[in-house]
Symmetry: D2
Subunit: 294 residues, 4 copies
């Protein structure tokens, strides 16, 4: 399993009545298969995992597995309770997940200290049949990632890395610096992908790769070959695109951007609401600018 490169956190398309649109989901993955991507993440935050039932989750993993040959299939399995996370991790492993991305539990915020988080991640890793990555996304969970935690859990043979989505590049650098080189840190914030690579991130799981995989992959390759000028140039066009697509309207914005470029974003599930119709018009020039910078 290779954790270097770019992974789109694929969306879960819904029909207008809120039902799962597996056909659209498959079509998106087929389209990604010809791009320069390392794999994909299913059931992440942009996949609306929090609004999916268990059977839907398994159907999505199966569909993704059959279309991700030879690439890495990451699957989000983090739930509030340790036991439920373990159960889901086992089930997605059974249907082909290569690794589980485990969100920090976060409902009981005041109790989620280093000890509680360490206990959770190690218990999940101990029971998991597949490698485990930590997943920190404070803008959704409301809890910051304690920098020393990565090094504490990196000793477990099945904890192989993390997705760091706070956008705090200094924190990402401290994590890379404190953990062994085998612990891979994936950047989850497109606005800082290039500086995160500079500090040792092995790749990125970036929403903007769902609608614009080419410039994201080109940034990664430019960095890989030491072309910092091109990497910075691509970063500068991706930053406003990422901000416009996801910062203002979240998953609905990302789905609208996908629709605008011929992918199939589909509807969101309530309580999320559709992005305003004007969004597609606003982001089109940013999308084109990003493509033409490659």
């Amino acid at each position: 399993m290779d954790l270097r490169g770019v992974f789109p956190p694929v969306v879960t398309p819904f029909r207008d009545d809120g039902s799962l649109d597996l056909e659209a989901f498959g079509a998106n993955l087929d389209a990604y298969s010809s791009e320069d991507l390392a794999g994909c993440l299913v059931l992440g935050s942009n996949g609306e995992a929090a609004s999916l039932e268990d059977d839907e989750k398994l159907a999505l993993v199966r569909a993704a597995r059959s279309r991700t040959t030879g690439r890495t299939l990451l699957v989000g399995t983090g739930l509030e309770s340790t036991r439920a996370t373990i159960a889901l991790t086992k089930r997605v492993a059974d249907v082909g997940a290569d690794a589980a991305l485990v969100l920090t539990p976060h409902y009981y915020k005041p109790q989620m200290n280093v000890d509680a988080l360490r206990g959770h991640f190690e218990a999940v890793a101990e029971a998991s049949p597949i490698p485990v990555l930590l997943y920190s996304v404070p803008q959704f969970t409301g809890i910051p990632f304690p920098a020393p935690l990565a090094a504490l859990v990196a000793g477990h043979p099945r904890i192989v890395g993390m997705k760091e989505s706070s956008g705090d590049v200094g924190l990402l650098g401290r994590i890379v610096g404190s953990a062994p080189p085998s612990f891979r840190v994936l950047c989850g914030s497109a606005g800082v992908f290039y500086p995160a690579l500079c500090l040792g991130a092995s790749g990125g799981v970036l929403a903007v790769a769902c609608c614009s995989p080419r410039p994201v992959a080109a940034l990664y390759r430019a960095f890989e070959r030491g072309d910092h000028a091109q990497a910075r140039r691509l970063q500068e066009v991706l930053a406003p695109l990422a901000a416009a697509v996801t910062s203002a309207h979240g998953v609905a914005g990302l789905k609208a951007a996908m629709d605008a470029v011929g992918r199939r974003g589909g509807s969101v599930r309530l309580p999320l609401r559709p992005a305003p119709a004007s969004l597609a018009r606003e982001i089109r020039p940013l999308l084109e600018q990003a493509e033409s910078a490659v």
Copy 2:
């Protein structure tokens, strides 16, 4: 259904292996039945709802219903997606819930504006067979309650009130002042129960009532009969108790306090961890002080 008075948000006792202890759950409810309480809340934050499976939730509601004759049974049904919340609300209504307490969805924080929250609550109320209360607890959800929302949704015939657990008494006062009198506001923060009553709260859903129902009920009755001096005195002894029981150790602290007074708190589920053994010793004088102030 009467929403005045004190409701303990009952805990869900687990055995040491993490399995549900329905017998201990029932024993607690039996004990509460002889106290001056208006009913109880099942599947709230202190009930570790976030760590329970659907079948466990229904078993708990059934068990609570059979032991809450003639009193109000509130049941927490809020989940991230509107459709899942509706489904669970219907199922708990089928097994006897009097009203559903619907948590603000909160994972996609930046999108949870007034419109999204209003859409969620009204859709749930529209589909629900039973009355609905809103539930705001920012220390867990990470999102503040927009003060104007209460008045906006109070017009729906099945939205009958809310549980306000932020501890922000000014906000509670603005909600009471803006909504019609039929919209009941329950205080969810024991440290401000008395001032909340002064500003028009109709009662409280207070964790400390799980271990010390008597002083909490006495505070409510003192207020009801206009004995402000006694209400304030009880508030002063309850405030440090509430802080010691739940602020430092959360649900685990509450369960330890229940064990200390002969109720059956039981274990917590991971990632929550047990309270330190010293806690029971520390809170005993506070428990005794509260009881002797009645």
Copy 3:
């Protein structure tokens, strides 16, 4: 010196060119002298103390002293450094201040722990010729007040109380409960004046008293004679007025409200900007509603 009752935190009127308008300042104080007020606070947050020079501050205290006969003159003297705070406290004492209100230092936020704050307040009290009150206003300073601090410093013979402006009534209650009765707690948030009195506040320093002293004083008197129904009624009309006057536009809003009722608010100093012209029209009905509720 009596710290019970209502104190307006008087504004500092400026002319359009930014110069101090001492004549308008005096006119306001003359108007307050016929109201049921316990005194006033000069050089508080609403007095734009942060934008005043030392000689202006002394001129304001002198002018206030000559118009506050037989009432308590509180003067804000808190600066970032302990030595500068001591120097200013001595100077305002020389020109007639009855007590100094000392803001929590706050620039070096991470260092302002209980020890540093305690050291500051005790050093100021030790050197001060007049009694000292603590002043906590987290919405401006960005630092919360550590609840145990009040009891720690209350033992100093010249530390006689505090102004608590966070609006967190639970915190105010814990402070009152932990400190000796001689330590007076003044509520600094009009939205929670009545519940703060219920929990033992001895009075209030409330911006809304600068434009509407009568209903604020009436609330205090209603509480004093045990008329909770009238106190709550007045609280309900004061809450939206206070929110409209200061929450949206700060000192500029308060000055506009004063102008609207015949007091002399005057201009603000840059970087503050004038309130929109529409504000006076918006708040007039709220002002009238508050007056007519007395």
Copy 4:
């Protein structure tokens, strides 16, 4: 005036009695004059500007000017009021400051929106005889920097750049990307100096350069000549040093680190308190590691 390279934000040494130690101040500057530095910043946050009197400030600028020949002398002049900031800016210009670093006003936080901040900075720049840089340091001011503000004010001929100390590299990148190339952005957070340079920062104003100028300057030079591997290596040793020196103990920690390497940190002014005696011992290996990485 050249805003590229490394600027130490020099400390203000005090004697044990709190008086200004100009001799120690001068000795530090003399030591810096033989290092590869672009100049220095006087009266910044690490210079305890918030605790200095006006005459002390001018004495420090004069002393710095006489020891900063041929290099750029930046001077912090930001105060809460626009008029006071203008007055101080003129006075430091008179005694030799090359440019003024103007802190965001922040006491009236809710009012400090883009319009108010823009008005402040443009008014100061309009009146200033010397170039002006903005200064954002949210960990002290409590207000975030609105990303679009930089481009809005960059059009003023005397606003030449900013110091961005939030540590948010994505924000720094958006500022660089939105403002004209003549607008220089200096990084104020040593933990992200290298990634900030990657995104277009022209240099850094970094506390750690007060005690370890050599590795900081070496990082800048490595980046300048395109040696990313060496820049990253130096970043990795500077990050824990910067965290140990300033994060835990602030200015007092920095002064202790200076004392440990033969510079003259001196005492802090109250309410700041001295760093624990153990700090020097803890940071010595980090200091040595940083030096040996050059």
